[in-house]
Amino acid sequence: MTGQPAGEIRIRDLLAVDTLVPREVRGGLAGEVAPENAVAIAAMVRTDRSRMQVVADRVAAALGCTVAIGGVEGEMAVRGALTTPGVGVPVAVLDLGGGSTDAALLGPDGRSAAVHVAGAGELVTKLIDAELALEDRELAEIVKRHPLAKVESFFRLRHEDGTVQFVTEPLPPHVYARVVAMTPDGPVPVPTRRSLDQVRRVRRAAKRRVFTVNALRALRRVAPGGSLRLLDFVVLLGGSALDFEIPDLLAEALAPHGVVCGVGNVHGTEGPRNAVASGLVAAFAEEA
């Protein structure tokens, strides 16, 4: 996007996740598959200011306004997080995004620290896509975002928590007896031979292997002396903090370290997103 030659790109952080990917067996029966080891990798690359200026200039040209590059992302995220009702300094934030997981800390002395580590929501989607052999990113995203159910008859669904729901309108034939993702627009079939429990396990493992691993390593890097015990409250931000189970999985992983986390609510209304944008606006308003 910035037209930077490949030779100038520097990798700053890498997350590698072992995964089992079903592969068609060569010379086997038609459609026979066997799990094969693979490694999924997310990388963070360094950008420099001149590259950001390229982007800024293009935005300026497209919108016909002045564009300034400002703020350190981590600091701005903390600033945005602090607008969550009940949150005060000292505070740590975890920004669970698409490409990277970012941690930032604002200490009682006003000093801050921030890190970005590779791997976030997009990698979770990729792992789900690969491990279920869906070959459909959109569908993998749907499986990531919504709880599962099994259609047991034209009028009955069993949700993944075991509860049974009866519907008054018959369920369409294309979802009959299938594992489905329960979207607000209705059940979407997951084309796999795996059971609901197996699909659920793949989904949760993908989230754990990316987000709990990254949350721990990012927080350790910003925590005073690398000790998680010295953090007590972590505000979760970013698109992946909207996930229906990622906050719970993280709470479970952080609890043994005495750390409590909660989903941010920027300005008490915006939810966990737009913290950085809110922080930038607040900083600009203060300067002006």
Binding site: S153, F155, P170, P173, H174, Y176, A177, R178
Partner: protein
Amino acid sequence: MSTERPVAPAVVVRYAGGHSEVLRQVCAGLEEEGVPARVEQVTGDQGCVALAYAAAGASPLETGIGIDATGAVAVHHAALPRTAPVRTVRADAGSAEHRLAGGTAARVVTIQPLR
């Protein structure tokens, strides 16, 4: 002691006649999935959906197939709305489709994803 005889569990196929190849394929589709069929020859000019719905009502498995006088096929379940069959197949759809209709009825019974 009850005088009622037990009814064999089967998908009921109501067949209006004249399309023996369609009937043969539908029954083969059921047999492939190991689900028994009971064929009942009927008269009249009811459409395949109405025949299938009545067949489902007569089936201990609540699943029926109708093959009307034009050779069109419908698969139905007794719990579904009368006019909303599981699937319909046109008379000229070909033998593979007719066989699949039998398979669909069988899969409704065995609670397997429909193809």
